[in-house]
Each structure stands twice: as C-alpha cells, then as structure tokens.
Amino acid sequence: MSLLQIEGLGIDFGGLRAVNDVGFSLKPGEIVSVIGPNGAGKTTLFNMISGVYAPARGRVVLNGEDITRMPPHMLARRGLSRTFQNLQIFQSMTVLENAVAGHHLHERGSVFADLFSLPAARRRSKASEDSARALLDRVGLGRAAEQEASSLSYGALKRLEIARALALKPRVLLLDEPAAGCNAVETEEIDHLIAQVAAEGVSILLVEHDMKMVMRISNHIVVLDHGEKIAEGEPAAIARNPRVIEAYLGAQATEAQNADG
C-alpha cells in the first residue's frame, strides 16, 4: 500500500517541457531519492508535489486522496512537509522561533486568545516551544536556540529547516538537498537523522547530490534526465544501469569541461 503516489506528473515553462510524465510511489517509512544531473527537473518535481507549482498534467495522490494542485498549507494539514534547496528561513526570528513556527498547525487557535494572552494561548505556545526545543536538540541545534537564525552557518540552517519540517509531525517529508554545504561529519549526522525519521514511519522523498549518501540510505531511487524518468529501482541496480551512468557521466563530463573553460 503506497502512501504517496505520483502519476504522470508534468509541467511546461514557456513551451519547454520542464518535467514530463514522471511517476513513482512511496510506502510508509520508505526513503526514495530523486537523482539526476543539474536541470533535470528535480526541484520542479518537488515544487509540483508540494503545491508550489501547479502541474499541467498528472496526479499526486496522498493516502488515497487526490491532492494535485492543492495549496501548500492544505497539504501541510494532510501531513506533507518539505525543506528548500535555497534556504527559506524565517529571517529576524530566533532559531527557536523558527522551530516553534513549524508547529503552526498544532499551536494555532483563536486570535482573540492570542491578543489577550489567555491561558489557552500561553498553553499552546508553551507546548510547541517544548516540542521545538526537543527537535532542536535532535538536529544538534539545542545550544543555538536563542540565537538569531540568520547568524547560523549554512549547514546548521539546513538542519534547522529539517527541524521545522519535522515540527509538523509529517507523514511525508520532502528534503531538497539536505546535505548541500555540509561537511563530512554534518552529512553523516543528517544521514543518521533521515534514517531515524524514516524508521518512525515517515516516508521520505529526497533530492541529494551526495551520491554516497543517496546509495547508503535510499530504499528506492528515481532517476530524472531532461525532465523525464529514465530509470528507477534499488540503489545497486541504479548504480549499474547503463542509461543512468551515461546521463550522469555525460553531464558530469560536460560540467567538468564548463568548469575548466
């Protein structure tokens, strides 16, 4: 029984097929990675699944319900959460406040109670703050709780985004390059965290460039190239797949040339 089902998803930008006919599914607690060369449409795919872009074709089904083109805040209520490739931190909030803000769905209540700071409002705030502190400890940011979020390093901000996304208590978590900009130790920590979260039954959809990490933690891999799915399967099978190797090495060879030139 799959929790999240993607069927024939596609979108065009100015007549260009950015993503076309991509489909796959996630079971509860499964880690599925989407890989592919730069510009393959990975983030666009994420944006369609998470309601940021409206897909032109195809369906997204969460737990039997069609959630295609549903706005992100409605998806959040259905347990779908995400992080962003280029960080989307709440500026001018502390690290703790960022994590607390992630609890929005659990802490929201009457505006009236909030204005007059009624006991109910304080109770909601207190509960989400306690939970946020626990989450920050979990991602290793417990000590930084009172700092301005903007003072954190790139890698730490990535972990803060994960904490914020986890605050939702999601059933499906979309992680867009969680290890980008992280050193080896940090990458391993994130690696560990993802496996832990998945073990608790959360399905994880991952976009990541660190191939070692992808091969290590994924149950299943989907490969995109030029917006189309060119392969999917278990990590070992993907690593041997000639089309994948060609798409990848071809792209990397070109990238290397570009970097030299």
Partner: protein
C-alpha cells in the same frame, strides 16, 4: 541587551513610566494636548506595526479606517442616538467588517501593487467623507459630542481638566493597545504573521494559511486605526475629512517605519517625533514641509531599520 529591551514587560513598563512621569515636567497644559495627540497617533501606528512590522504588508490607506472611526463618533450619536463610546465601538466593528471585505482581494497583491490598492481605498473613503456634505458637513467638517466620562470621574471625586483627562485616557488606551500588540507578537498568531513575512512559501509549507493571516493582521490594524480616529474625534470634539486623507495615511506609515516598524516601542517613538515636529516648527511654519520631507528621507537612507532598532544595534555593537 536587545532581548531584554524587546521583552514585553520592559516595553510596557517603559511606556507606562514615561506616560505617568512626563506630566511632572510639563510647563503648561498645552503639553497635555501634545501628549494625547502622540498617544492617539501611537495607537494607530501600533496597529501598523502588526501589519507592516509583523506581517510585512504595507498599507497607504489606513487613514480611511481612522476616518470611519472618527465619523462614527460624529454620526452615530446624531442618527442612531448612540452614546459616543458605543459609537466608537460601532466604528471599530464597521472598520473591521470593511477591512475584512476589502482586505481579501487587496492582500493578494504585493509590494507597490498592494500600496496603490490600499491607497485607492483610503482615497475613496476620504472622498466620500468630503463629498457627502449633507451627511458629513463636507470639507468643513462636523461637531462631535462630548464623551461624558470626565463628568462621571468628577462625580466620584477625580477632577481633571479636559486636556489632562484626554492625556490620561488616550495614554491608557495606548498602553492597552501596546499590551495587545506585544501579546500577539509572542503568540501563535504573531509567529504565523512573522513567518509569512520571512518567507511566504515556507510559511505555507508549515501550514500557515497566508491569505487568512494577512487578513487577520489587516483587520486588527484597521481596528487600531479606527479607535485612534474615534479618540481623535472625541477629544477634538470636531472632525474634518483630513483625518481620512492620503497625507494622514502617509504620516501613519512614516511614523511606524521611522521609529522601527518591527518594534512597538520604536513605532510609538516615531509617532512622538512626527507629532511633535510640526508643533516645534510652528515657529518656522514655512519650513514645516521642508523639514518633514528631509527627516523622512534621512532616516530611511541612514537608518533603514528605523530609529530605535538602529540605535539599539549600534549600542549592542559597541558592547561586544
């Protein structure tokens, strides 16, 4: 330093202390009048802190709501036989309802588009107020009945002069308004507003219904502006359409941003400066516009976060 400075209790304490102690240094009753004007403006500006500072949405039309609050106090007692206090509440409810209706389409817009749409709304309100002369007296304005609270106080032995009463009453209203705004800041609703200010797309993904919360901020700030307009009308006992005019909207936004739209205390400081400036400059009346324009430009160019946060940063920078 910043943490302690921005904490709720300290802000309220500073505000209450200044309001309570200042009268001991007033050389004449004229200063009570200036003070109460500052508080009335401060109240409207505190509402804008919620809209601009928390939620990051601009409005160049909030004087429209001040106009609704002011004219409610002038019209409802005559036509509906309401007590002026009830009229003020009616005005606030009406402002909230109008903000709710207007806000929904307007707040889908961003930046300059939002600015011009809200500006258009404000201008329409002021135009109705000055054109419907048989109802509102037109540009000449109209009289507003006495609130009557002063007489009640006198009966129980508290005898205040008119200016003293309005200083105390609007001062109290401002402290109450600041308290509510500060409560909101640290509440789930406040966090949702600040989240959508920081990143709308991220706020959505944590479940914030962005359109709903923008509307919440818009309606709350409209109520603040409306009550501010009511207080102004009641203490002046007279009102003209200028209260709803474009320049008043601009003044309100400038006060908020001048002091620092992110902080309640800063915005009230902005209100104090911009309210006092014309009083000081009456001596050089021809220079008033020149100076006002210059202050607006200089603060925004050299202290982008507004006066109070910029100064606080500088102090903190020195401390480290």
């Amino acid at each position: 330093m910043i943490m302690r400075l921005s904490s709720k209790a300290t802000t309220l304490l500073i505000l209450a202390a200044v309001i309570a102690i200042a009268p001991f240094f007033f050389p004449s009753s004229y200063y009570f009048r200036v003070g109460s004007l500052i508080f009335v403006n401060g109240l409207a500006v505190t509402g804008l802190v919620i809209l601009i500072g928390y939620a990051g949405q601009i409005s160049l039309g909030h004087a429209g709501f001040a106009g609704i609050g002011a004219y409610a106090c002038a019209l409802a007692p005559i036509h509906l036989g309401l007590h002026p206090a009830l009229a003020a509440i009616l005005g606030a409810l009406l402002s909230a309802a109008i903000a709710f209706l207007v806000g929904r389409p307007i707040l889908r817009l961003k930046g300059y588009y939002l600015a011009v749409a809200s500006l258009g709304f404000g201008i329409l309100v002021s135009m109705v107020l000055s054109n419907e002369a048989q109802l509102t007296g037109g540009p000449d304005g109209m009289a507003v009945p006495e609130l009557g609270l002063r007489a009640v106080l006198k009966a129980v032995g508290i005898d205040l002069s008119n200016t003293e009463f309005w200083y105390a009453f609007s001062g109290l209203a401002l402290v109450l308004g600041a308290w509510l705004a500060l409560n909101l800041y640290h509440s789930p609703t406040g966090r949702a507003l600040r989240a959508l200010h920081g990143s709308e797309v991220a706020a959505r993904t944590v479940g914030v219904d962005v359109a709903h919360y923008k509307l919440v901020a818009f309606v709350i700030s409209a109520i603040y502006a409306s009550v501010s307009g009511s207080l102004l009308a009641l203490q002046n006992k007279f009102i003209t359409p200028d209260v709803a005019g474009f320049m008043h909207s601009i003044e309100m936004v400038t006060m908020a941003v001048l002091g620092g739209a992110g902080s309640v205390l800063g915005a009230i400081l902005g209100a104090a400066i911009l309210t006092t400036l014309p009083q000081v400059l009456t001596v050089f009346q021809e220079y008033e516009q020149l100076m006002l324009g210059l202050v607006m430009m200089l603060v925004m160019i050299f202290m982008r976060e507004g006066l109070l946060p910029s100064v606080a940063h500088r102090i903190r920078g020195r401390g480290e």
